[in-house]
């Protein structure tokens, strides 16, 4: 009963902020202030506990995959909207789901969490399971050193009360087994996912995980509970506990295949004997892509494929996943990606041209492409005008145009072409 007032106030604030357009972290903040124990009490109700999904890249996609796999097993899942991975965004998301008395009908919470806030949030949310995806060079201006990011994840993993699922092929995260063994406790247990060595060797730019300059690479072979064997335009082949499964992928690429292996390993650990690979495969078949990750949206009589990037790793792996040089390409990048030094680490061989370059950083991107001799049609810093230039191009024979976009330009572009339906909760 003690939560009725804070929940109602929080909801009212939420309604007001939504009516003004877009979401807000404010309602979550207000509830936290009015009832500090609220979140702890809500999450204690989850029978299967809380799963944190951590990583430089792939958090939204993997959270989505894991959610659907568990729903496919009949669980009711509470999850945060894509990208709403900061503390107040998570509070706001919880608030929208609870009854006025603070009751929440869900069996499990699956939350993507920004690594900078993971340890702090773990004190309130007491995660039972922690999934760590990768340490990749991301937003150096925020973290400077990748090892700082690695430690944020590794330190958070140590507080899991049941399971840790980690990336065998990551130079930092593969150390978690040794680290926890030194702590000596029986919990949490540690399980790995990964890609088969053959697959990694055949990838043009490997996995793009960050180099570990502080520790020697382990020579011991680590077994993976879920291992990606191959991927193609139709999906991925994953081996889970010795059993092979061909699954559909909501977006194409090596990194999405690895995200799927991570989701499967985590589902297997969380569900234990209830895990059923056939049910998991069925869940993948009906999955839709996450925002901007290989989505096909209507654009007049044509379609647009959104390829979103946040950093070097996501841009390179997404370019590598293109089946051929895209016929019609727009690239959109603005100041939402503050430091683009890494553009010079990218191999752009997958692009034979760019039709339109837009956003405040269009010139810097064009300068990079000029160094590679890749022709650029028009540079139009204004996104609206750039979209009209794309519209004016003849229909591509493939039926779709490809827009390579950073997060901020993706949100704007979606709105401009009539898909501005997402609540941004952070």
């Amino acid at each position: 009963m003690r939560y009725i007032a804070p929940v109602l106030v929080g909801r009212a604030v939420r309604a007001v902020t939504r009516a003004r357009g877009g979401g807000s972290a404010l309602p979550g903040y207000i509830v936290n202030k009015m009832a500090p124990g609220f979140i702890k009490n809500v999450v204690a109700q989850f029978e299967y506990g809380i799963v944190f999904v951590l990583g430089s890249n792939g958090k939204s996609t993997t959270t989505h995959m894991l959610t659907e796999v568990l729903r496919g097993h009949g669980l009711t899942v509470f999850t945060n909207p894509s990208g709403a991975n900061l503390p107040q965004g998570i509070s706001s998301a919880l608030l929208s789901e609870v009854g006025v008395t603070g009751k929440l009908k869900a069996d499990i919470g699956i939350l993507e969490v920004d690594e900078a806030f993971a340890l702090e949030l773990s004190k309130t949310l007491l995660p039972s399971t922690i999934l760590m995806l990768n340490v990749q060079v991301d937003q150096l201006y925020r973290f400077f050193e990748t090892e700082v990011v690695a430690d944020m994840m590794l330190d958070t993993a140590a507080v899991a009360t049941k399971h840790v699922i980690s990336n065998r092929d990551d130079a930092y995260l593969s150390k978690i087994g040794e680290i926890l063994a030194k702590n000596g406790g029986p919990v949490p247990d540690v399980t790995y996912f990964g890609a088969s060595p053959k697959l990694v060797a055949s990838s043009a730019h490997g996995l793009f995980n960050a180099a570990n300059h502080r520790e020697e690479a382990s020579t011991a072979t680590i077994d993976a509970l879920a291992e990606l064997e191959s991927w193609d335009s139709t999906g991925a082949r994953v081996r889970v506990a010795g059993e092979l499964a061909d699954i559909a992928l909501p977006a194409k690429g090596l990194h999405y295949g690895i995200d799927a292996a991570a989701a499967l390993a985590t589902a297997a650990q969380v569900l234990g004997t209830e895990f059923d690979l056939a049910k998991a495969s069925a869940a993948f078949s009906s999955m839709t892509p996450a925002y901007g990750r290989g989505e096909l949206l209507d654009f007049g009589d044509e379609k647009v494929e959104f390829v979103m990037f946040k950093n070097a790793a996501s841009l390179q792996l997404n370019l590598d996943a293109l089946p051929a040089a895209p016929e019609q390409v727009m690239v959109a990048i603005d100041e939402g990606t503050p430091d683009v030094s890494w553009l010079y680490d990218i191999d752009f061989a997958q692009l034979d041209h760019v039709d339109v370059l837009t956003g405040a950083k269009a010139w810097q991107f064009a300068l990079r492409l000029e160094h590679e001799g890749i022709p650029v049609g028009t540079i139009e810093p204004d996104l609206k005008k750039a979209i009209e230039l794309m519209r004016a191009l003849p229909a591509p024979t493939t039926g779709h145009k490809t827009w390579v976009v950073n997060y901020e330009q993706m949100m704007l572009a979606r709105k401009i072409i009539g898909y501005g339906d997402m609540e941004v909760s952070f």
Partner: protein, 249 residues
């Protein structure tokens, strides 16, 4: 002067696996593109740990990296310190960024007080652990306006009489209104971005110093026009947005 070189121009890239964390590969890319468009052949030699340092080079380039990488290369660099100093004494221009520049300076005092010794090519020492400066930076220098992106928690203290690369008009730089340091034709800077593609005048100054040493002429031409136009446009936007993009963390 011979109009073009039958010999290729060699760029020595130091520790690319460790010290190119802020896209410093792009500095090599920019030098290479400008040289090639001027009709010169370019030979990039990468020095990695444990390999033998080549005896000669026309340009030496080093970049930025995390402290773990600095520690990792430190022994190898110390072993090659005399050879690198010999190149510098010979007038070979160095272009050094961030942590790599600090290693080629007088040394780095870390936040915990530990000191990592430097090679002594650049007349400054670095102190880490100061408030982080992040964002676009604009510098007025002998090469004109230099722009880029800075991201460091490092203060550079220049030796008495040492000359900075320039005066900061926006951003943090060395921490006292100046940015970088020069030593003859060599340049050390904290500016990333990477800085050479964005600043053709700095690239050309390095290339000219390298080729004059060999009595070879260098001239830009129409082949450089698009690189220069796009750099100029990028610079315009950076100067316009310099205040809006970032803060001190």
């Amino acid at each position: 002067m011979s109009s073009s070189s039958s010999q290729s121009v060699s760029i020595l890239e130091l520790y690319p696996e460790h010290l190119e964390a802020s896209g410093e590969r792009g500095n090599v890319t920019a030098l290479t593109a400008r040289l090639e468009r001027a009709g010169h052949r370019v030979d990039v030699v990468q020095h990695t740990m444990g390999r033998r340092l080549p005896k000669d080079a026309d340009i030496v380039v080093i970049g930025n990296g995390p402290i773990s990488a600095v520690r990792a290369v430190h022994a190898d660099l110390t072993e090659n310190a005399a050879a690198l100093r010999a190149l510098a004494d010979d007038g070979v221009p160095f272009f050094a960024v961030g942590a790599g520049a600090e290693l080629l300076g007088g040394g780095i005092t870390l936040a915990d007080g530990t000191v990592l010794g430097g090679v002594g090519i650049f007349p400054f020492s670095a102190r880490r652990g100061v408030p982080r400066q992040v964002g676009y930076i604009v510098i007025e220098s002998a090469h004109g306006t230099v722009v880029g992106f800075e991201d460091n928690a490092s203060e550079w203290n220049l030796d008495t009489g040492a000359v900075p690369l320039g005066v900061v008009t926006s951003g943090g730089g060395n921490g006292n209104g100046r940015e970088g340091v020069i030593a003859g034709s060599s340049i050390a800077t904290q500016t990333k971005g990477p800085v050479l593609p964005l600043n053709p005048s700095v690239s050309d100054a390095i290339i000219r110093a390298a080729l004059e040493r060999r009595d070879v002429a260098y001239a830009t031409s129409a082949a450089h026009a698009e690189l220069d136009r796009l750099a100029a446009k990028s610079r315009e936007v950076i100067v316009a947005n310099v205040k809006s993009v970032f803060t001190t963390i």
